[in-house]
């Protein structure tokens, strides 16, 4: 009887905690979204008396933001693509067999996750200046590949680790050479992990401030960097509007991901055996 009461109490506490965390995560986002549609020209208390799209118009008429957005999208697409190629190749090599130093090498490749991004950015700034590379976009690309590669490596490794080694052997003994076996068997089965890695890389690149802020120059800057510097100069709600746009983009990405992963689950129930 008391045991049961205790169980119920604990369950209630658990629910409360989950509810609290959800509120903590969601309320700021909700506030941002509401404020993005605020019709007032100044920053006033919630809730706004009227709604409009003025901050979105303001965002899209501001060259400074648009330029940042353009750079960010180009940079994210390019760095996600390159980081995917590097990450998949690295993960496939790391996944093959077991050899001395494998763990150490894996940790080394994943280390940008542990090094604070500011440190990575600053170190890269010094290093690239030393090399004489002053092109802002090239510098940003280097930085973004470094911070996104761990994500593509890790999620590809996760995808590969679910594949039964005898599947590759089955392909080989049936007459496929190593390359065909990779493209026919390994790649399709690791696809979910690989796609996840690419989407992560894109999102991380779109989102990054700490590394980017070190590597921008006067003409080349990313949207997050533009948002931060405009926030310091004159705080207005076009930042909230930009945030809503970024959220929508992320939501679209998640839906794409869900579609791909969901589809995989339906077809390949045996994938992770």
């Amino acid at each position: 009887m008391t045991g049961r009461a205790l169980d119920n109490l604990l369950r209630l506490l658990g629910m409360l905690m989950i509810g609290g965390i959800v509120c903590f995560l969601l309320i700021p986002i909700v506030v941002t979204v509401v404020m993005a549609f605020d019709a007032r020209a100044y920053l006033g208390p919630l809730p706004p008396p009227a709604y409009s799209l003025r901050w979105f118009r303001r965002f899209f008429s501001d060259d400074y933001f648009l330029r940042g957005l353009g750079t960010s999208v180009q940079l994210a697409l390019l760095s996600a693509t390159l980081s995917l190629c590097v990450g998949v190749a690295t993960a496939v090599a790391l996944d093959r067999g077991s050899w001395r130093g494998k763990e150490a090498l894996t940790s080394l490749f994943l280390s940008p996750l542990i090094v604070p991004p500011v440190v990575t950015g600053f170190a890269l700034l010094l290093f690239l200046s030393g090399l004489g590379l002053s092109n802002g976009f090239a510098r940003l690309l280097c930085g973004h590949i470094i911070i996104t590669v761990p994500y593509t490596i890790r999620s590809t490794l996760a995808g590969l680790s679910g594949i039964d080694g005898s599947l590759t052997e089955a392909a080989l003994i049936l007459g496929a050479n190593e390359r065909s076996a990779f493209w026919d068997v390994t790649f399709p089965l690791a696809r979910t992990g690989i796609v996840c890695g690419a989407i992560f890389a894109f999102a991380i690149s779109m989102d990054d401030v700490a590394v980017s802020i070190m590597l921008t120059d006067a003409n080349t800057y990313t949207l997050p960097v533009a948002l931060i510097s405009s926030m310091r100069a004159n705080f207005d709600l076009s930042i909230a509007a930009a945030s809503v746009l970024l959220m929508l983009a992320t939501l679209a990405l998640i839906l794409v991901l869900e579609k791909l992963v969901g589809l995989d689950r339906i077809i390949g129930q045996g994938v992770f055996r």
């Binding site: 599947l167 049936l174 129930q269 055996r273």
Partner: protein, 368 residues
């Protein structure tokens, strides 16, 4: 001299080491066209290494492997035309049944036009017509293993390797599929090596059994011969069950049989030709060769052995009944078929009778 063109595979003194472990310590054997041979042994005996050497997933450290008269040195798995049926099927989960079976055909260069025909021919062979567009995940274990078999046989490999082909299935299904597997392999006339730790699988599928232990082949022969005439204590222990007696052998003059005297004071008749007098020998008696009789039973013929005992446990397995009988030689196992009529009960005093010919006499081994 055998004609070497009939040999599908030949192993000559093949050795393979993994670090400090000697996985294969000089293995020599041949398999002729149309033969089904099984490699039987406990885990770690080298049978899986042998299979991986034949498939080309490993290369031997010493010795030579030839398939159809051609050296396999440096040959990759896809250059060998060997078929391998995996224990856990290894069907490609992202391909349907037809695509799985067609995979080998595509890579072995079959003309596109013939592939579909061959796929349905193979599905007919394994009795899975109409399953072309099923996904592996939608099929039972038995069905998956049949698809895997169809995929292996589709490309007409020179040699088919079966790796513990039935061990992932439950007992009832295993028996059904075993019979079917045997019939399918015979119908396509394939040369087959079955690798297994399961003696039923080895004995029932193969014409010839090679028992492996510690990287060597301990004994090679027909299933009957392996069971009835094991040549080493290991083989006798590994195949089937046995009751063991050890002692000194003497040859009483004027008798057709020799005498094995154990330290517990029992004397058994054994075949005189099997052992040299004066040495220590072990005798193994299969439990189904022992008759369970009433306490007053007598020897019927010269060479009959009689041991007294008391039934301490009875296990009914349906088809047969296992009796544990305690006597001067410790606990003995007797297996009798489940027949109508009076049966011994727990606590009954009984006599155990077996013939001298039923004693498999082997050199004494301390662990025997």
């Amino acid at each position: 001299m055998r004609s070497s063109s009939r040999l599908v595979i030949e192993f000559r003194d093949v050795a393979k080491r993994f670090g400090q472990t000697m996985a294969l310590a000089g293995v020599t054997f041949t398999v002729s066209a149309g033969e089904t041979v099984s490699l039987l042994g406990p885990s770690g005996c080298g049978k899986t290494t042998t299979l991986r050497l034949i498939s080309g997933f490993e290369q031997p450290d010493e010795g030579a492997i030839e398939i159809a008269g051609e050296s396999m040195r440096g040959k990759r798995p896809y250059q060998r035309n060997v078929g391998l049926l995996f224990q856990h099927y290894a069907l490609f989960p992202h391909m349907n049944v037809a695509e799985n079976i067609a995979y080998g055909l595509k890579h072995r260069g079959w003309p596109k036009a013939e592939i579909a025909g061959r796929v349905s021919e193979m599905l007919r062979l394994v009795k899975l017509q109409g399953f072309e567009s099923r996904w592996p995940a939608q099929m039972s274990g038995g069905q998956q293993q049949r698809v895997a078999l169809a995929r292996v046989l589709a490309t007409k490999p020179k040699l088919v390797l079966l790796d513990e082909p039935l061990s992932a299935l439950d007992a009832k299904l295993r028996e059904e599929l075993r019979a079917e597997l045997k019939q399918i392999l015979a119908s396509v006339g394939s040369t087959t090596i079955v690798v297994t730790h399961d003696q039923d699988e080895a004995m029932s599928l193969a014409d010839r059994v090679m028992v492996m232990n510690r990287g060597r082949i301990e004994q090679e022969g027909a299933p009957d011969e392996i069971y009835a005439r094991p040549r080493t204590p290991f083989v006798a222990r590994f195949i089937g069950r046995g009751n063991w007696f050890s002692g000194r052998v003497s040859h009483p003059p004027g008798k057709a049989f020799a005498r094995l005297s154990t330290s517990a004071g029992t004397s058994l008749w054994i075949c005189a030709a099997d052992a040299v007098a004066g040495g220590d020998w072990s005798a193994c008696v299969r439990p189904e060769r022992i008759a369970l009789l009433g306490p007053g039973a007598k020897a019927e013929k010269p060479g009959d052995n009689l041991l007294p005992g008391q039934v301490v446990e009875i296990i009914n397995l349906g088809a047969e009944i296992h009796y544990a009988v305690d006597g001067p030689e410790g606990r003995l196992l007797v297996v009798e078929p489940n027949r109508e009529g009076p049966r011994a009960r727990r606590g009954d005093r009984v006599s155990l009778r077996f013939r001298a010919e039923d004693c498999v006499v082997l050199p004494y081994a301390s662990d025997a």
